[in-house]
Symmetry: C2
Subunit: 382 residues, 2 copies
């Protein structure tokens, strides 16, 4: 298996991008990455998108993206796993290069959510249609149930949930590509509109348009494209029970844990070695559950991480320095790739005001639905 490097990245601003279509979002992100590497050709494109068909009436975005980029002919396909589509696209692109099938692969993610569709209804199709969505539940509802279970099991409080959002916004205010550039305080979060008890508006990631792209090649070729390649040393994918009601413990994300174990094993490191992490905070409770499942904090102790500063910039293990899904935004299929870009920049010392000093190992964790799919990647500074 060949060693694989990430050598360039590009992403659009994340936000309500009313002027920009799905195909243009992709081209903007892809072009930024290709220009950074100084390349004008590719062997393959893997693009993650959860629901381009439902959102903008466009399936088959693989060839659409290749063509609109001016590269009709290049191999392309779309990969999907709900909100984990971007991370799964990276896994597929990684295998394509590691196998020797391709030498220059663009992995991208794109979602155009603001174009008239009912975002909540579309997102609900990531749940079990027959036992969950058809019955009327939506994602805020599912995560509200996860939050309630976590609160009852471990004593997690609404303030502790709010502290995650406050941290996300503090980080996001330092990220020029983030959807939200403003800081919020605990009081604002705690008094924001109730969406699905106990989750309030400011506990919930927004509806966002955006695209992100990274360029992969064999490690041995990396120096052609950049002085500071980043090595992909671990990749782990796992699934869990589709429906929340079928999970052994609704307050624990077992698929996240399993995907992390597989990635740590491949990377030959453990959670204690991780210097910076981007995790899937689709809702504040999700960050708490994810850091527990990733082993970054002890199970049941995730509630203390944000209030104590452990997971803030300057803390023991900074989590979501990008602002996370909450403040950076969550264009569903693009998120997994954007997470990789944040860690890529951190490991290259290019994260500006968000820089974690001397970051050598970084981790990304991207999740689908209420935790039915999860993909973890581990990157190392070369």
């Amino acid at each position: 298996m060949r060693e694989v490097a990430i050598v360039a990245a590009g992403m659009t601003r994340f936000g309500e991008l009313w002027q920009t279509s799905l195909r243009d979002l992709f081209v903007d992100a892809a072009t930024e990455a290709l220009n950074a590497a100084g390349v004008d050709r590719l062997d393959a494109i893997f693009v993650g998108s959860m629901a381009s068909g439902q959102f903008v009436g466009q399936e088959h975005i693989g060839p659409l993206c290749a063509d609109h980029l001016g590269m009709a002919g290049v191999a392309a396909m779309r990969v999907e796993s709900a909100c984990a589509s971007g991370g799964m696209a990276l896994r597929a692109g990684f295998a394509e290069v590691a196998s020797g099938l391709s030498d220059l692969v663009l992995v991208a993610g794109v979602e155009k959510m603001n174009d008239g569709a009912d975002a909540t209804a579309v997102l609900a199709t990531a749940a079990d249609q027959e036992t969950e969505a058809y019955q009327g539940v939506t994602f805020p509802g599912l995560y509200a149930m996860i939050a309630r279970a976590h609160m009852e099991t471990y004593g997690t409080t609404e303030e502790e949930l709010a502290a995650v959002a406050v941290k996300s916004h503090r980080h996001g205010a330092l990220n020029p590509k983030a959807q939200f550039g403003r800081v919020v305080d605990l009081q604002s979060v705690m008094t924001s509109t109730l969406v699905a008890d106990p989750l309030r508006l400011l506990h919930c990631s927004p509806v966002t348009d955006g695209a992100a792209a990274v360029l992969l090649c064999p490690l041995r070729d990396a120096k052609r494209f950049t002085d500071r390649p980043v090595k992909l040393i671990g990749s782990g994918v796992a699934t869990g029970a589709m429906a929340l009601a079928d999970r052994a413990d609704p307050a624990f994300l077992d698929a996240v844990q399993l995907s992390a174990e597989r990635a740590y094993r491949m990377a030959a490191i453990g959670p204690g070695d991780v210097h910076v992490a981007e995790v899937h905070d689709c809702f504040s409770i999700a960050e708490i559950c994810c850091i527990e499942a990733l082993g970054l904090v002890e199970r049941g102790h995730g509630r203390h991480a944000a209030p104590s500063g452990e997971t803030a910039l300057g803390g023991r293990v900074p989590v979501n320095t990008s602002g996370g899904l909450k403040a950076k935004g969550h264009p569903v299929g693009a998120t997994g790739v954007a997470q990789v870009i944040e860690v890529f920049e951190q490991l290259r010392g290019e994260a500006g005001d968000r820089q974690v000093a001397d970051a050598r190992f970084g981790l990304t964790q991207n999740m689908g639905g209420s935790g039915a799919s999860s993909v973890v990647h581990i990157l190392e500074r070369v």
Copy 2:
């Protein structure tokens, strides 16, 4: 790059399967494959589906399939490229095994088209939404334009189109899993209802439910699972201009040609070495164009292949012995995998009444939209 084998296969009947849901279609096909191999575990599942979200309100079918199979935990993702989803899932599964990332991978395809959605409208989302679908064109319309261009360029006649359908049905009548078990004659095809001039009802593949699955492993492990493994010796993927109006020649499928060149190069064989082929006859004209682009016949001479018997069972290069998409059925995401199963069985001598004598090299070609994406695989008897 490790050598990869296909060691087992399973598929549902293709047809209007009103009693069977998407998740059950998958499990039926997957179980048949797993039982044939005698395995009850997997490393990963790659499932192709064009539009599960639009058809049955269910994205995120990777974990759904793993879970419903009783294998929650197993890595899973969905791959999409419109009607080429199944073939692309095979490419992704092939890379996963070839790279060394996994040792036992199920590649499946599934589509549940009969569940209330407007199939024609959903399928149209494989075209360019903005310049094609939004303007009102549908797939019969796009392929009618391709047919008209081919007729004007090469003199292809309606009878020659009809001969393809007659051949498909003759083969399909020998396939117990085919949607249509009846033979049709030239006259019936020529007088069937006009759908989009010059394409008539019996020139068009049907709307179908179904699932198909194959099991992949490293060649060195294959004998654990079967006495007659089949080797995956070539894989080629290509895209073309998304919109038909942007193709250099609307009567020629350039993405098909490019995907074939890439596969032939990897396999180190040429079109003249192919003993049996499954090609993407979504409409009769598509078979004619595909066999030209694959180099199985000379460009412009595709019109003669069915009437002359060249591509019939017993002919020089039997094409679509399964009955093709026309007679076997076309559950969009499943088709690419079902094509592989036909060739797999042919190379193992298990094709019964459809057996091509002494088939050593087989080819599958799976296409998306009006030819914007194409994936070719070449298999060799071990």
